[in-house]
Structures are given as C-alpha cells and as structure tokens.
C-alpha cells in the first residue's frame, strides 16, 4: 500500500513541477489530437450537414453507416492505417509509419465519423425548425448549409470537443501506428500502458491525472459554452 501512496505522491510532484518528460508527452498528445480534431472538423462538419440537408438515394444507408462508424474500434482503425502506411502498403513510399503524422491520420479516421454523425443530428434538428423560413427567404439546402453550421456553432463546438475527448483518450490506434517510440511518438495513453506494464506507476499516474483533468475540463467547457450561448443568443 505504501508503494501505491508513494506512486501517488511522486505522480503529483511530477505534475506540479512540470517534469520535462511529462511535459513533452503531454505536448505531443495535445499536438496530435488537436491537429486530428482540426481535420476531423474540416471534413466531418460539412459531411454531417450535407447528409442532414440533402435528399439523395442511399441517404438513410449513409446515415446508419455514419452512426455505425462512430463505434469503430480504435485497434481496427490502427490496423487499417498500419496496412496503408506500412512499407508494402499503398502509401508506404511516404515513410509515415511510426511518426506523429501517422497518429494524426489514425485519429482523424477515428473521430471524423463522430463529428459527422453528431453534426448530422444537430443540423437535422435545426433544419426541421428552419427549413420553411429559409426556403421562404430563398435559401435551399446548399445555401442553408453554411447558415446552419454558423447558427449551430455552439452545439457544434460540443460535438468537436467530444471528438477531441475521444481522440486524446484513445490508445489502440496510436499504439499500432505510432509504435510508442520514446521522444517521437509517445503520447499520454501509450505511455500509461507502457509504464504500467513496466511497473513504474508514478509517470503513469501523473499522466492519468492529467487525462482525467482534461476530460473534466473539456466537458466543463462544453457545458459552459452551451449555457452561455443559451443565455446570450436564446
């Protein structure tokens, strides 16, 4: 039991003193996940909105497919990206495997469906409310798309934060495509997995504390943004 409390003690001191190894790992994690969430939003927002607004054959199948992709197991995504990027794979020539770029690609694949599916829900609900008014003003689905993305901005920020939360907490995909190489591709989740298996709990716990804080922070931010927006914009 003393082991355990010792580990906690040194974990806290690692966090409190901004231990350089820890800072490096947290920095890379944030960089990878923020980049991934940026591209996921860039792709997922318009796709989700388009599925919500346009009527085309196969639309309901696509909707189901998007929702199904939300639950994609990270290791499977990791495997797919691994196969694509490995020497023998179609994109092998770029030599991206075991680099932060590979981890970004994996996370983009993982969270774009989440952003798209949640966006579809938000925009579809808004379209129910706005459609007749916007059509009356002369805006069809194509013109309504940017309007609704802007009008739904506060709900959509929550969506993007959900994507970020998932990306930063995920371990399977980045482990496979990043390889957990010290100083290169080691992020919070993969470090925790590794350190725990080595029996070195302090760094693992310190990172765990940060991950939990991050998760609470994200959810708190989402909550506050929504509430402020509701008060301010109705």
């Amino acid at each position: 039991m003393t082991d355990f409390s010792d580990a906690f003690g040194s974990a806290f001191s690692l966090v409190a003193t901004f231990d350089s190894a820890l800072v490096e790992i947290v920095g890379l994690s944030l960089k990878v996940s923020l980049t991934a969430v940026f591209f996921a939003a860039l792709i997922g927002l318009p796709i989700g909105a388009a599925v919500a607004l346009f009527r085309f054959p196969g639309r309901s199948i696509l909707t189901v497919f998007l929702s199904a992709l939300m639950g994609l197991p990270p290791v499977v995504v990791g495997l797919i990206v691994y196969l694509l990027l490995s020497r023998a794979g179609p994109f092998g020539v770029f030599g991206l495997l075991y680099s932060p770029t590979a981890m970004v690609i994996a996370q983009v694949l993982l969270i774009t469906p989440i952003v798209a599916a949640l966006t579809r829900e938000v925009i579809e609900e808004m379209w129910n409310e706005y459609e007749e008014q916007l059509r009356s003003l002369g805006a069809g689905p194509a013109r309504a798309l940017p309007t609704l993305l802007w009008d739904g901005r506060f709900s959509l920020i929550t969506t993007i934060l959900a994507g970020f939360g998932r990306a930063s907490a995920e371990v399977g995909a980045v482990m496979i495509v990043g390889g957990n190489i010290d100083h290169v591709t080691r992020v919070m989740t993969t470090t925790i997995a590794l350190e725990v298996s080595k029996g070195d709990l302090a760094l693992a716990l310190g990172l765990g504390i940060i991950l939990i804080a991050l998760s609470i922070g994200i959810n708190g931010a989402a909550f506050l943004i929504r509430r402020m927006a509701e008060q301010k914009y109705g």
């Binding site: 007749e132 009356s136 003003l137 301010k232 914009y233 109705g234």
Partner: protein, 264 residues
Amino acid sequence: MITHVRQGPNILPLELKDINFEARGQRLIKDMNCAFSTKRRNVIIGPNGAGKSLLLRLCHGLLKPSTGSIEWSGAGANKGREYITHQQAMVFQRPVMLRRSVSGNIDYALALKGVTPSQRREITDNVLQRAGLRRLADQPARVLSGGEQQRLALARVWALSPEVLFLDEPTANLDPSATHAVEEIIQAIHETGTCIIMTSHDLGQARRLADEVLFLHRGRLLERAPTEQFFDNPQNDLAQAFVKGELLWWNRGRDNRKPPKENN
C-alpha cells in the same frame, strides 16, 4: 424611405385551379379554386384546422398540391424560379430567427435576395426605425419577446419589399397595443403596393384590414366576398354561423368529409 424599391414585372395574378392537398391519406385542402390579384388585402378566416396555414404554404410554394395547379400568371412569372421566390415573402405563425443580432437577421434576408452590402445597411436601419426596433438592433434576435420577434419578422419582410406578402396569424399572442402596431406595419407595407394574403382569428382585424374575406372550413373555400358584404350578409350558412360566433368546435364531426350540421 425604403431605398430598395421593387422593380421588374409583377408575378401576380396567382391562380389556383382545382387544388387538392393530401397528407397521410387525408384530403386537407379540397377542390379549391381562387385567384389573387395585385395590391389587394385578402384575409382568410375559418376555424382551427380549416386549412388556412396549408393554403398559405401552397400559395407560397412551400408545399406542392397533390392535384391541380398553382400558377403565377403575371409577366414576371417567366423570369424563373428565383425571381418568383424573391417577389414573395412570408411571416410564419411562429417566426424563426437566426442566432444573430436583430439587424443581422434582416441583413441575412437581404443578402439572400442579392442586395449589396451598403444598400443592406441602409434598408435595415430604415425598417428597424419604422418598426420601432432600432434600440434593439444589436440584441440577439432570439432573446426578444414574442411580440418583438413578431415585429422583427415584419420588419424583415418589409425590408424585402415583396410583391406578395403572406402572413399567418401575425397578431396571435400579441397584446392590444402590439396588435395595433403590427396592423399599422401591415398597412404601411400594403401602401408600398404589396398584395397581402393573411390569415386571422380576429374578426375585428379582418374588418379593419381586409379588402376581401375568404372563409375556409374543413379544407374548402366556402365563401369569398368583399369585406363589408361578407360581414353584413354572408351567403354561406356556415360562414354566417362563424361570423356570429356560433360555429362551435365540436361541430367538427368524426367524418370530416360531410358538411357538419348547423349548430342551434
């Protein structure tokens, strides 16, 4: 002064020929024939569920009739779908405001119509002033009270200076002074040469605003007459009962295909 005056040929008159509208196997608008011409004020009255809102939506092009045709037959009708859309405007029973400022909502509508930014600013200022909303110009539109939102919805269509304006119960839920203000705005819009087609549950309002009254009952147009004639001497017995306040809601029988019996 509104700087963005209407230009180009009229799309009116509007002709409805043998319109039927069905949804979920129910015929909601039945064998309707009527026409609307330039600059008139038409008020559609009738009990709840008569099909008043549906009729406005059909005319405005938001719904397609199941059978029959709805046609704009003015010279402007040849100028394409977009032109026809922008010659019309509608204020809905529950107006929808974007999550922008009051003036941003008007600006957006004008932008869709292709008005230049500098003109937009001028028109927006102008209509906000005239609708008594100037001090609220920078407020988020959605936090306005119901009455203020209704006035904003009117200011928005005023800015568009449409040739035809559809209004669905524009004064429902408004207090008497707000109702008065809204009626004045409607009159002012009409004076710019706009044809008004509106619904109302307020018979006093119909008397005050209408040139012509249309009486709808269970999806049928039972009577249409100049206002005075309609109120003094309605030809249809259901219209008579309605004007006298005797057409009670339970007259709507289960089989809504047959005319109801008169209420005694």
